[in-house]
């Protein structure tokens, strides 16, 4: 299963699961270099950074941003 890190709140990481649900987990369960927006692969209760999926999602979102952002904001 995949999840995306929405944010960190103190000792917690707030994850957005694939179904859109939000779940808090202890930040210590994540690799120390994990950042907001990173996509995680969850296998047997362990959280791995999925750098490929993170990159793919980032590109997709940034493309959409370019489409909807007003040009006078640049």
């Amino acid at each position: 299963m995949k999840a995306t890190i929405d944010r960190f709140e103190g000792k917690f990481a707030v994850l957005e699961l694939e179904n859109g649900q939000i779940q808090n987990i202890a930040r210590s369960l994540l690799p120390p270099c994990a950042r907001e927006g990173d996509v995680l692969d969850i296998v047997d209760g362990f959280f791995h950074l999925d750098s490929c999926e993170t990159k793919k999602t980032k590109e997709e979102i940034e493309k959409l941003m370019e489409e909807v952002w007003s040009s006078d904001s640049d």
Partner: protein
Amino acid sequence: MKLKKLSIICLIFILTFVTAACTITTSDTEKKQDPDALKIHFIDVGQGDSILVNLPQKFTMLIDAGNNNDGEKIVRYIKDQGIKRIDYIVGTHPHEDHIGALDVVIQTFDIGKVYMPKVSHNTKTFKDVLLAVKEKGLKVSSPKPGEIIFDKEDLKVQFLAPNAEKYEELNNYSIVTKVTYGETSFLLTGDAEDVSEKEMLEKFGTGLKANVLKLGHHGSTSSTTPEFLKAVSPEYAVISVGKDNTYGHPHKETIGRLNKKGIKIYRTDKNGTVVMSSDGQEISVWVEKEN
């Protein structure tokens, strides 16, 4: 005996009618809108933010739209105010507890302008907002620091942050809005943290002063630094926060800072929805629940 019974029944009838009449009078008074009053509604969305700024017939702005599952509540609340068009939508920053139901709001109402900081986030929540904007044929604008977006008839609305292009934390990208109506003012800070507060202090100094401060980041110690609080020096503080939330918001240090200055605190976890009304001179406060 029979007569006595009859008079008791009559009395019950009379009392029922009197009570009903009283109830109607009260709700009518509550509903009667002063067309010249600015109302700022801190809608109770649990652990998240959603603030409706409304000057009837003149100006409507929604700052943030709570969590993903708050759509129905927020839409109903806005509709209950008789609002069909939202002139300005502000997504302070792309965290789920602020932009969660923004897509639903955009889909439901007639929308004027949409403001968000130009920073990307990889969540479906953020993507859904962008898709809602696209489907509605709207565009997103990013505020320029210090930009005044409305300045008419005693009402001035200005963006005081963000003041930089890049930040380490998404919270510091938060759009900070100052609403001034006559002699009264409100500072609505999203999740802006100490980094952004410091920039605002340098840039706006005494211009930060406001009667009401919506505390940054749900009363976390990451925000509301003593220097910032001193510059704003509010009479009222509002904290948008969920009951018994996992993160311990608001932090006791922050509450301590407010108490030390004798600032009256309103919290959505204790007061439910909080509505502040200004006639340009004075602010009156309505709460859903007393503490």
